[in-house]
Symmetry: C3
Subunit: 351 residues, 3 copies
Amino acid sequence: MTQSTPRAHRLAEIVAKLGGELVGSPDIEIRGMATLESAEPGDLAFVASAKYLEQLNGTRASAVILARAQGGATRLPRILCDDPYVYYARAAQLLSPVERPSAGIHPQAVIEAGAQVASSASVGPFCHVGRGARLGERVVLGAGCAIGEDAQLDEDARLGPSVTVYPRCVIGKRTLIHAGAVVGADGFGLAPQAGRWIKIPQTGRVVIGDDVEVGANTTIDRGALDDTVIEDGVKLDNQIQIGHNVRIGAHTAIAACAGIAGSTRIGKHCAIGGAARIMGHIEIADRVTVTATSFVTKSIRTAGTYTAVLPAEPGREWARNLANLRGLDRLSKRVRELETGSKSKTKKRKR
Amino acid sequence: MTQSTPRAHRLAEIVAKLGGELVGSPDIEIRGMATLESAEPGDLAFVASAKYLEQLNGTRASAVILARAQGGATRLPRILCDDPYVYYARAAQLLSPVERPSAGIHPQAVIEAGAQVASSASVGPFCHVGRGARLGERVVLGAGCAIGEDAQLDEDARLGPSVTVYPRCVIGKRTLIHAGAVVGADGFGLAPQAGRWIKIPQTGRVVIGDDVEVGANTTIDRGALDDTVIEDGVKLDNQIQIGHNVRIGAHTAIAACAGIAGSTRIGKHCAIGGAARIMGHIEIADRVTVTATSFVTKSIRTAGTYTAVLPAEPGREWARNLANLRGLDRLSKRVRELETGSKSKTKKRKR
Amino acid sequence: MTQSTPRAHRLAEIVAKLGGELVGSPDIEIRGMATLESAEPGDLAFVASAKYLEQLNGTRASAVILARAQGGATRLPRILCDDPYVYYARAAQLLSPVERPSAGIHPQAVIEAGAQVASSASVGPFCHVGRGARLGERVVLGAGCAIGEDAQLDEDARLGPSVTVYPRCVIGKRTLIHAGAVVGADGFGLAPQAGRWIKIPQTGRVVIGDDVEVGANTTIDRGALDDTVIEDGVKLDNQIQIGHNVRIGAHTAIAACAGIAGSTRIGKHCAIGGAARIMGHIEIADRVTVTATSFVTKSIRTAGTYTAVLPAEPGREWARNLANLRGLDRLSKRVRELETGSKSKTKKRKR
């Protein structure tokens, strides 16, 4: 479920697989990726931005990944490419491939009658797979997962330990869910009557697409009647809360601790910052960025960046800001008096 | 633990059980609830608010629930009632009743000596029930729950998978706790001494009343000395944090990601919005509403709505707001100068 | 794993072990700690602050802990000391010592080949300990923990139920981790390419020092290349999110629901309030306090208190604040016009 011990590759092999222009000996052996600062001989490092160029001097890396325009910044063996950060991602995938546990159902897992588990799937100890659930080819369940009745995990889906998938929910291909995440618990559906809350059965599902990532302890509620939908390629960080009947558009990324209230629709290719909050029952257009900690209270129709960030300041400065904010009514009144005062003076002059 | 496949009911049966006035054939068979938009033949839909009335035109629902005043808005078979949203909740409960797993202790659960499990209770696989714990009639534990020593779950309490109840905590009747919730972990009790933190044993309990709902991955800390108390009928959404020695009054509802710091008391019938934060050691009166994301820093003595929301804006507009806020000191000074200037002028005139 | 039933101690024994000056009979038997308000005979209470002194009148406690200067405030048997709150912590530890489960591996735990478990360690049911993992002396795993391959838990580390420690992570001595916490899930590392996200393997570890506490459902991500580091004595409350490659300095305490974004370094002896947010890639000096809910957006070089708190207000007052904030541009313009107006008048006079 995690990266295996890196396997050594010659620089020539890396370039043969990932492209880029090699400057230096093709036979240098790379055993892993590292930052410029912590690299040891045998490591491949990278320069993702010009501000790190000066770290090239002290690095002990055996080779570096560089943007083509910066090819002259070092005499180290190097791979020149269009996007060093993407190249780093690809090289790291090559050097530290995901290690899958061997196929098979652990003898201490419980598979209920009528569940289908592909022979290439791997089910860890203490997993419970409910009646009618289907686990596709090469699906991996970490220890202690609970898969509800009639849930469906498509091929190559991987779950960390202690993940819960409630009944009838669907997890797409190659989707990765980290430990403690909960998919498909009841949405917060309550009808008020005479000072009490009447529970509304949540009969929709959660449907998660392909190539999605769901962070540790993130929760995605099932729909009240219709489904909650996470489209293909969406990336959710840790401790995110997705309310019932939300739809997250394809390839949108949401950072940790964000919360999306019920029935909201977020477009494709959006970027939602950490701890951002989005009100329920609104719509966010494609390619919208919401900055960390901001609270979106109404629909956003146009791509762009939206924010309401109050940066922390030394206590005394903030106290003054707050006092000023609260004194605005009085300040406004004083300006009005000044305006009226000068007006009346003007009037007097006119007379 | 979740809603079963809906069981078909004739309209006449529904009205016989739930009340309301039936207009149309009593023999129409209803197989489930749906929204007006996604309803198929066989579905019962509802109009919770006048703004959805126009969706009546296109709906394929076999019948709809309507407020009495709106009975003329469609020619579809319909149930007229006082509160269509409450009726929807009741009808959904009728059509999709909670499905309980069969009674009994799974052979792969561990029940420690001295624990009492009612014969009608259902204990899932991989549950651990500690010494002296008591599980009442019809209690349901999902897979992988950990129930600490001397904990008590009253009749009809239901826990989703991977719920932890720490020792000596009490869960009331019919209370429903979703996956990953943690009841009774240590409160954050630390005494500072010479730059280190000394742990304060947390010897109180968590006592949860009847008919409470606790969302997925919500955490409720045990008291330091006295108990943390969640009164009857409280509804807690996902990922809420309740600090030690908090008391939440009956029938208060708290939306996802809210946090209540230690020793705070919240009244009855309050509504706390998503991601709202409430400071420790304060008191909130009954029937207080706190809007989503707001931070309550001092006690609230009077019912009403309290808020401090900054809605996100396009980046440029927000930057201007922030610059204005920070420029207030100077603006205030300029107004003072204008006032002094005009005053001195006035004085001169008076002379 | 939790506090045992308190063991009775005579006041003389307590003072012999913890110091302080005893006034009153040394033979009074103390069975537990309590608050002044809820104490019963047999309980030891404490006055942590002068504002609780008046509660001394009604208390039923058998003895109280008091600051030396307040020794005359009651005639009850009492222990006088320098810091009653610290004394309370120590006395509670004495009266309610941590109860460790008996050593041994539960027959329903799975220990993979090559894992090393000290004979004094206690492994609960449904735990999975991966290949090459090492559990030191007296380590305690609650039910349902998952310990990844080659992870290391040093002596006296204790984990609540359903804790996940991903492969190769390190947990220091006496460190306590509450239920549902996730240590070492993948950091949120993504490289954007052509509108898609490419996953960056997260090959660093999480390294947690000695005497750390990690709250329930808190998540600490593993590093991308280098490690995420939690130094000795750090105290993390519930539902905290620590991003990849963060470093938290020794003896820093962080309250619930806080979030620290990736690659940020927090100094030693800091206090981060509940739901505070700290931006990624910045540095916070030693002894910095960040108030609850504040968002730190840039590095802080100087010890002190930093904040940006907007206290919730009655809805109408807040609406006026917000309108004022948004009207500042216009107000500013009006002040400018007043200034120009008076200036032009002044000029006229000069002519």
